[in-house]
Amino acid sequence: MAAPSGQPQERLKKVNSICGMCTVRCPIEVHVKDGEAVYIQGSPHHPAMNGSLCPRGGAGLALLHDNERPQGPLIREGKRGEGRWRRATWEEAYTHIADKLTEIVTHYGGRSILYTNRGGPWQDIQKAFVRGLGSPNYTNHDASCARNVMHAAKSFMGMGRKDVTYDLKNAKHVVLQTRNMFEAINVSEVNNLISSLNNGGKLTVIDVRATISASKANNFFLVRPGSDYAFNLALIHTLIKKDLYHKNYVKRIFKDFDKLAAFVEPYSPDWAESETGIPAGRVESLAGQLAEAAPAVIWHPGWHQARYLNSFYVCRTAYIINGLLGSIGAKGGLAITNKAKDVGRKGLKSFVDLLPAPEDQRADGLGWKYKHFDAGPGLLQLQLKAIETEEPYPVKAYICYRHDPLMAMPDPEKIKKILDKLDLLVSITFTWSETANYADVVLPLSTYLERESTLAHKGGLKPYFFVRQRAVQPRFDSKAPWEIYTDLARHLNIEPLARFRSIEEMWAYQLEGTGVEIADFEAKGMVSLTDKPKYRTLDELKFPTPSGKLEVISEKWEKAGLPSLLPYQPLQAPPEGQYRITFGRCALHTQGHTVNNPLLSEVMGENELWINRNEAARLGIGDGEYVEVSNNGQAGQRIKAKVTEAIHPECVFMLHGFGHRLKMESRAFGKGAADQELMIGGLEKWDPAGGAMALQEHFVTVRKLEG
């Protein structure tokens, strides 16, 4: 753009694409010179990006040039996990998978195939593929992520968590409860929140340690780990008792408000003080501040809320607080998300509609045994149970796409034993992972810079279509997902998908009837479906609950024997001499698959165990010293201690994703500790109301290592 006309610049091509370093998928601009990617920055075409990109995004070229990733299809030769492979051609690998799957399907039916991924905007083609296999067991990673948030949203608003948009830019007060927006970075969200703060908006952080988000907060509540529900009940109590809630809104849009008022009667801030450790006056002050800023308030219901056995109720009360403040549907609050149809446009044509829905019941019991859960993406812990017990039927094949359950789910040793019951385990991946190493076949995915995507739709105040473009050709013998799925469809005779031979055909199919052409994506990598942000008012909206209102009491949950309003019960406290394990994210790493990145591992090569200063003193542990953290002597791991006053004394904290044990990852090997290994028996600990894992219901001991 700014380049003067000259020889060197003429060869420079700017490719509008989508980052793939984490699951946020920010729009990027890749500079390509003579077929080589030379520079990446945030997209200049999105106002909240304006060229910005987080450090992970900056390490994209380092991922591309890293040789320590699968370089071609691999078929296992040794025992599972032994690491002995035979390099195969794609044809061999496809044939191997197709033969195995056919054998399994003949024996146990299509339903015996499990498929998991990490959600995202490009699920359509994958769902279609799983339908083509004849399996109802399409499942995502969300049991160890946002399932509680999702179900809390559904139980109160009747819609999913993404059907509301956090209008951070216009918010006057944002409350982050466990959500760590300045470390688990979504670039647009960060900038919108910063913009609000610069304009006098307030930030409140509720957490068990002082995160970077907390370091920017106006109010910080260091709550006792696991007491968030008590905090929220006390806040609701105050809003109602002190008449601080939005009365007209509540009168118009709430069902069973009186039941809520009666329920919170005993949960005063004074009562909560002994649970949370937060003085009553501070909760009352926060309620006052929120009422003042209402309805431009966002009490963030959380993202990764697979933490406690009552996390569903923490999220649910967060939504209720937003409701009481009138912020659901408000500018500066939880605005209602628009999809293509909401702005008078036609959405993308889907691949999944090309295939009939499978008739079998899901192996995880969703939709028939657990009727209050959203059956679409399932629950992985229950799928693993099905593999283990062969109930309700045997599950014998498992395909993991960009998903590492041995990293994401608790108790990997137990999971390995379950996986041993499979006849086929396939990993489709662009980095090494424990799951890839345990697989029978590894299909190498091209990195996000080397692959293009099908088209995707993004809902929001201004919905748009977007696409990932291939910036450079693959360095190794890897493929794009659309290539893998259509190739496999041809080997497995899944006709409706087998007919697609090129990405252009697929794009053209998706765009049919939308009035948009693929050439329209050239300039910005996206096509906006409306000019201005649209705030839908409550007149334009009926909540998709049975009553059309925000439901304090949800019949669906009540019918499942789960109270909509759960009487408070304290969680199990750490036994004497033990600490609750807590975990989180940082700006530099994501989900364990960046830990071996040369640039990112240089800045942060290992994780640390945060431990309260007084506790550390009692144990004789100094800052920076190495300790052993273990679950009652089991799964002991070595990790460096970070001694700080900024963490609650009942818990210890570590970043997730470290403690890799694969020799082929030379930079990550043996560095730091893996939180999931400490969660022994964790597959059985999950929230019955929200469906997500309760990953912070585990206790550890910490011991100073000599020498």
């Binding site: 006098g200 920017k216 800045v603």
Partner: protein, 217 residues
């Protein structure tokens, strides 16, 4: 000093290291050299609120650079047109004199080339009309680059906004700690050594920083 001003608005910095990573990626550097770096100090509790400092350390492009004076080959130079201090790689012999001389550790050792590399404000990009890679990519746009007179006085503007805002409301607990930001932390509540260290991180006293570093090590 150079004609330019690279200003880090610490209130908006979230210490994500994006500047540091994009700097290296843009210069195609491997493991080792860090032409720019974020140093995090904290968190520590200050009047009941956790605060951290995220201090950005590029090259300051001095008026009379120690490194240029120390360089025996003329590789380390100050560009006459705008005062940018840079290394001519073809002349660098890897003697490390500049690394010894610089009070702030700006010249960095590159083990791949066995020469020095440093922040040159991405002079190639500047000459194409672009901004330094750290500034363009900064996650929160807290880095600002340009001629000093072009950069709006964000500190004054924010202070004005904050003061007006605070008058409107009764805060509880009383807002004794600054809402955000680092520079304002010097107002009491620290031990002497802490206060001193913080002044040093604010880079107001460069000579003392050098001495302090020596005594630390």
């Amino acid at each position: 000093m150079s004609r330019y001003y690279l200003f880090q608005d610490q209130d908006n910095c979230i210490g994500c290291h994006s500047c540091q990573i994009h700097c290296k990626a843009s210069k195609s550097l491997g493991v080792g050299p860090l032409p720019s770096q974020i140093i995090t100090v904290g968190p520590k509790m200050i009047h009941g609120l956790p605060r951290s400092a995220y201090v950005f350390m590029p090259c300051f492009h001095c008026q009379r650079p120690w490194c240029v004076a120390a360089c025996p080959t003329g590789a380390m130079q100050k560009r006459p047109s705008d005062g940018i201090v840079f290394v001519d790689q073809s002349l660098c012999v890897g003697c490390k004199s500049c690394m010894l001389a610089c009070p702030w550790g700006a010249p960095q050792w590159n083990p791949e080339t066995r020469k020095v590399v440093k922040c040159d404000y991405c002079v190639d990009r500047l000459d194409q009309g672009l901004l330094p890679a750290c500034v363009t990519n900064c996650t929160t746009k807290c880095l600002h680059f340009g001629q000093p007179e072009e950069i709006p006085n964000l500190k004054r503007e924010r202070y004005a906004r904050k003061v007006s805002f605070d008058r409107e409301r009764e805060e509880e607990p009383a807002p004794t700690a600054p809402a955000r930001g680092w520079q304002e932390l010097g107002r009491g509540g620290f031990s002497r050594t802490e206060a001193k260290r913080e002044r040093l991180h604010g880079t107001k006293l460069p000579r003392k920083t050098a001495r302090k570093k020596k005594s630390d090590s």
